[in-house]
Symmetry: C2
Subunit: 410 residues, 2 copies
């Protein structure tokens, strides 16, 4: 508990908008066909329930917000919707949900399926799941349903509470949402899928999107699709993954990178990538030159990154897990971040950790002041919920968002 | 958050073993065939996810333990087991699970079933669910699986982690538990069912049992069945529900009871009782004398309680929700509690709340010192996990408990 509360205080000291708690609902067992490499290297296993950390970190902070991955096939929507409403109440509206459709057969097996559904079907299920939770969050209780009328003996006006019903191929349920309206009702919606279906889903549902790197094409495509879905430019914030290794000087930062790399375990990173892609990278000779590998897809991935072997890919991934990596003094780091923001039309960054807690302590102490000096970073938190802080408008979703269509009419 | 943290600090100041967070996975809609009475009177609705409160209260305390209701059909076992392990880690082993098999059709509908399974089938499902979570908690990771070997690059020894498999009519899953062993592994198991199946379940699985009142017959029956299941007298703690209204004098306490009763809403309590029993009590004239009611079961329930009308039953239930109620000065209260402990062979009490937080503040300030003066109450917390504090032995379950059968052999 002390670890997480100290981390939360560090991030709030640095005026971070939020902390993002990733999750994975199974073990990475594509690499070698078993979870041994993931277990040995501690690659996202063990992985405790990230939702249990939100109250811990919220208790130690006032403004820091919390984005948490929730994997859709993993928990039924009725219980999940209540959990998020409860956290939104407890934190006074500082909660976001990173919608993940699942990508590991091991997670599906844990949840009782023989294997996961196909990629397109998972997005179909996800869209249906969103409808269920939107109905519960937006449509079950009217704003003024709770009367708190002691004298009249009325806690809630039953006429202003509505049973939600959903009948589809994937979800069948009927019930009154168990939480009264929370500050944001629907938590801020994050999404990170880069596939065609992922982009379409993000353009429709997401308020914040994570992209893996500073990718101008992907950013432009997301913005175009969101506009086509009737949403405004300012309705979608796009954050790139970046791993920052900073020190007083470029030389000291480079030395730190060399030290980190000496501890890194490329096979663990390859187990991660195998889980993401479904391709067992242990089939390849880690030290063979790319041109001798049997897979054109892998040859092309390596050449796109300017790498020569699968082992080099593992080494690259083992710092920041695939994020853009920037190493240097505060000036060097901020120069690079500024360039990425401009060239890729980004709204900000999702900082991957390297070594906890020092990577965030150093960012707060060295990079944040330089960002502030250049007018690129806030000097105080805005008041209000996460949605108010991020978007500078109301706590509730805009009327153009699909969730708004489920609001109860008065 | 402040409400819950203040409450936790009050309870820890009073050396309470724990706080019990009840839950209900649906609305009470048997009374009148709709949830209107429950909503109007705020009868367990809204009801936020109680698991989100454990980290909040744990962050404000050091010794206080947490028992939380988890309703079995409501969350798949793989995710549920991880949530409990995560909370056991976060709290250094201060977590108990109150196993509830469900009793509301409304909860089943929320979870996607047309209606809940029958009573006996629910216990069959519950026993099967216990096997799944016991396997995950006790059998997936050996005690020394996590090596934390930085120099050798080994976080976990994969040979000491085992995939769990379960194939039954009710649950099919396969997976590695996602949490490393927590201090208690299996959380302390609570149960409260009083039916024949409920008692058999408790005798086999429960370490702590809640009974509704000071009921010597039920207590003796539970102890006999636990002994028949090969468990020792000290393996089972039995707590009775009690609601205490205390003041400096008997007269002041009686005045407080009158004040509380004036605010009580008998119909809300009847909606609660209708949900528990499945009998729609709104069908009866609330003010008709018992002998004129059409139901022999209701006549018998009223006469057993010395009551004349259904409204009186609602009034009785509206203070303490069916718990034994004791009203008076500290001396009067402790005399009564002592008598119940002796005559019913109880290990302690589960205190129902009347008005929060004053009912617990007054208990701590007035009743605890009197209990201590008589040598009936501890003067300091024992060290260790909840299981160590409650039973004065190890953090893990005894070998005679059915969960122990799933332990991985070395």
């Amino acid at each position: 508990m002390a670890h997480w509360q100290d981390l939360a205080r560090t991030l709030e000291r640095g005026l971070f908008d939020g902390v993002f708690l990733a999750d994975v609902a199974g073990v990475y067992d594509v690499y070698g066909g078993n979870p041994n490499t993931a277990l040995r290297t501690g690659m996202q296993v063990p992985v405790n329930d990230p939702f249990t950390l939100v109250p811990v970190m919220a208790a130690a902070t006032e403004h820091l917000c919390f984005g948490v991955t929730g994997t859709i096939p993993y928990e039924p929507p009725f219980a999940f919707a209540r959990k998020l409403s409860s956290l939104d109440h407890l934190t006074d509206g500082r909660v976001a949900w990173n919608v993940v459709t699942g990508y590991l057969d091991s997670a599906a097996r844990g949840a009782g399926q023989a294997k996961q559904e196909g990629h397109d079907t998972r997005y179909e299920i996800a869209a249906d799941y969103m409808d269920v939770v939107y109905k519960l969050w937006e449509g079950s209780w009217e704003d003024d349903a709770v009367a708190y009328d002691k004298a009249g003996g009325v806690f809630t006006d039953p006429a202003r509470v509505h049973e939600v019903a959903h009948e589809s191929e994937w979800f069948q349920m009927r019930g009154v949402h168990l939480s009264e309206p929370s500050p944001q009702r629907t938590p801020v919606i994050f999404q990170a899928g880069a596939s065609a279906q992922g982009q379409a889903f993000a353009a429709r549902h997401a308020e914040c999107v994570f992209v893996g790197g500073a990718l101008p094409g992907l950013v432009a495509s997301l913005r175009e699709q969101a506009a086509a879905a009737g949403r405004a430019r300012e309705d979608l914030k796009i954050f790139s993954m970046a791993a920052v290794i900073v020190a007083e000087t470029d030389e000291a930062a480079e030395a730190k990178l060399r030290d980190y790399t000496a501890w890194a375990q490329p096979e663990g990173a390859l187990a991660l990538m195998s889980g993401w892609t479904g391709v067992d990278l242990s089939r390849f000779d880690l030290d063979a030159r790319a041109e001798h590998l049997e897979s054109e897809a892998i040859q092309s991935a390596l050449s796109g990154l300017g790498l020569h072997t699968v082992r080099e890919w593992g080494e690259r991934l083992s710092i920041g897990g695939g994020a853009e990596v920037v190493v240097g003094s505060p000036t060097t780091v901020v120069d690079q971040l500024e360039e990425w923001v401009e060239t890729a039309d980004l709204d900000g960054f999702n900082l991957a950790y390297t070594v906890l807690p020092e990577c965030f302590e150093e960012f707060v102490d060295l990079v944040v002041p330089e960002l502030q000096r250049r007018g690129r970073y806030k000097k105080a938190y805005a008041e209000g919920t996460m949605r108010e802080k991020l978007f500078g408008r109301g706590a509730r979703l805009e009327g153009t968002h699909p969730a708004a269509g489920w609001r109860a009419s008065d």
